[in-house]
Amino acid sequence: MKFPPSFILPFTIGLLFIVSFLIVIVGVWISQLSKIDKSRIIHNIFTRKTLLAVHETFMESLLHRKIFKKNPVLGYMHMSLAFGWFLLIVVGHIEAYQHYQTLSIPIYKTIFMRYFATHQSITLGGKMLAASMDLLLLFVLSGVLLAYYKRFNSRAFGMKKTTQLKTGDRIALAALWFIFPLRFLAESVSAGIHHNGSIISQPTGNFLASFLPVQIFEMPLWWGYSCALGLFFFALPVSRYMHIPVEVVMIFLRNYGIKVQKRIDGFSRIQIYSCSRCGICLDSCQMTHAAIKDTQSVYMLKHLRNRKITDEKLFNCLLCGRCQTDCPVGLELNSLRITQRIESTRDYNSSYEYLRNGKIAISPQTQVIYFAGCMTHLTPAIIKSMKGLFEEAKVQYWFMDEEKTACCGRPLMQIGQYEAAQKLIDNNRERILASGAKKLVVSCPICYKVFKEDYAIPGIVVQHHSEYLLELMANGRLPVNKMNTRVVYHDPCELGRGSGIYHQPRLLLDEYAEVISIKNEKEEAFCCGGSLANTKIQMAERNQIREKAMDEYVRYKPDVLATACPLCKKTFAKSRQLPVHDISEIIYMAIQETKPSKLREEQQLKNTVKI
């Protein structure tokens, strides 16, 4: 048997390396999964879910549909590289089978086919395949050109900050940039010598042969192409291009129902490696409004991957979830950050002994509990309105935190203190259970999320007051009075993206005021900037974020900015550009409008005295 030429070695060794590396590392990650997650894989692997995963892989990993939606040029660039390369491999193989007329072809003969197959295909099919290979290569090269331009452009004009490159990234990037031009040149030169080219490579080859001694260039160019491929494979594990193989694994696992846990495990590592560092999260992040440009998810994941995350960066995030909505890979960015926060603060969780030692106040028997939340106590207008509305609807309720109550625990969870939060949760849960209530109405979205997700109290419905008031209204227990006030509704992060409550507040508000639809709403809504999840941000920076959001709202010329969170209200109220009211206040005011003025005064007086 004739030995193949030595230029195939870099490629072949690189391929062997990367394949075995991937098998090992993915194996390790999967072995680190919890027992439940492992059984999820086994149960789901032979179901429709695998097909769904294949479909998703095709749509996202190859076509990059989500990037396309967000930014068509960026989408095209990614698609041309990923899908183009994928097709080159697939079509290349088909061409090789067709050419060699066998299925057992060494892989190098497929990849470097134009070197080995020195005569032109004579069949129509063969000609068409060769032509499509040339066109596909052109397609990929257009992506490469765009990539050159993007990098050049961002540097020259200092536009959007793309991720800083590390050595591994640089090598892989350089290799990637060279792979396709070298391939094109090598194929063209071979075509110039052997006349085995197609519609693009052959004219290019002829052109080159017309003034260059192409024989001298042939071997070095094929060497160069092989080296570029080999280098790329070797650099892959230490570069961001690891996302190409890992993302596929991630898509499959995700389809099997695996999620980021509250500890760093194999799946969170897989998610971390799945980040392509496309930088879309930089665009969605409001922290840039305060000139904070180094703490965004893409950087967090990079630092997590390198295990070099500082508290300064880890905690300088509002956890608003905007990046998560926009992430084309669909990474669980908030969960990943919280997981690391748990890790970073593990050593100093509080035990809150005093809650256990102290006498727990006796819970009265009730059907409905109202829990205002710590923050709501700093916005007494919300409490006053809620009291008025309860009275209006003749609801008997227990105001659980009227005097003193442990915090709901969510602020602790946001900064990773899950263990500590559990102590508060246990304490509150005990009190709620003792009351025998069926419904827990909460005014603060921060509390709402934790009550709903982490309290796990059987037989109790947790509702944010916007849901609850909507229900009361729908049942005819609250009068309706549509005022002609123009309202922009600001979705609180924890209620909207955090808990998926977008429609209820709008349906409710619609009955009492005129709600204006705006660009940045629902999933795309802004964060007010007041988030408790960020412990590092300075007040002045919060103000900048808030003002940017406020400027946007002001453009719609509303009479009132409505929100459903005491913290959002308090944050926006500092701006003074617009009057800010909680949804409950607006409903309460609208209902008061319907009453004769004397009665109204009396009622207001009564409620004021109570507060």
Partner: protein, 114 residues
């Protein structure tokens, strides 16, 4: 040593010259807004934990500034991080970060001093 039925009483005086400022400096470096505390006590008045247990966040500042860090570790545990203090603070001090820094570093310096 003889026992006379009484002992020399420890001084209640804060001896500033014995001040160990490492913990304070670490916190001020990481959260400079803490410098501008006015000792107004708004934080303590609004404190959710303070409703349930004797807990004075204003005093934490003083304890740090006087190097009285021995009780700090236990005291700071009481905070529930609800963030009300931060909303009330007239000087906009990033108190939750201060508390987290104290929690983190109090342990570190305790082990260092051993």
């Amino acid at each position: 040593m003889k026992n006379f039925g009484f002992t020399v009483i420890k001084q209640r005086t804060i001896d500033y010259d014995q001040f160990d400022g490492r913990l304070l400096n670490e916190i001020l470096e990481n959260e400079p807004s803490f410098k501008v505390c006015l000792s107004c006590g708004g934080c303590t008045a609004t404190c959710s934990a303070g409703d349930l247990v004797s807990f004075n966040i204003r005093r934490m500042n003083l304890m740090l500034r006087r190097g009285e860090t021995s009780e700090l570790e236990n005291e700071i545990q009481k905070c529930m991080l609800c963030g009300k203090c931060q909303l009330v603070c007239p000087r906009g001090i990033n108190l939750r970060n201060v508390i987290m820094l104290i929690k983190k570093n109090v342990v570190k310096y305790k082990s260092l001093s051993k």
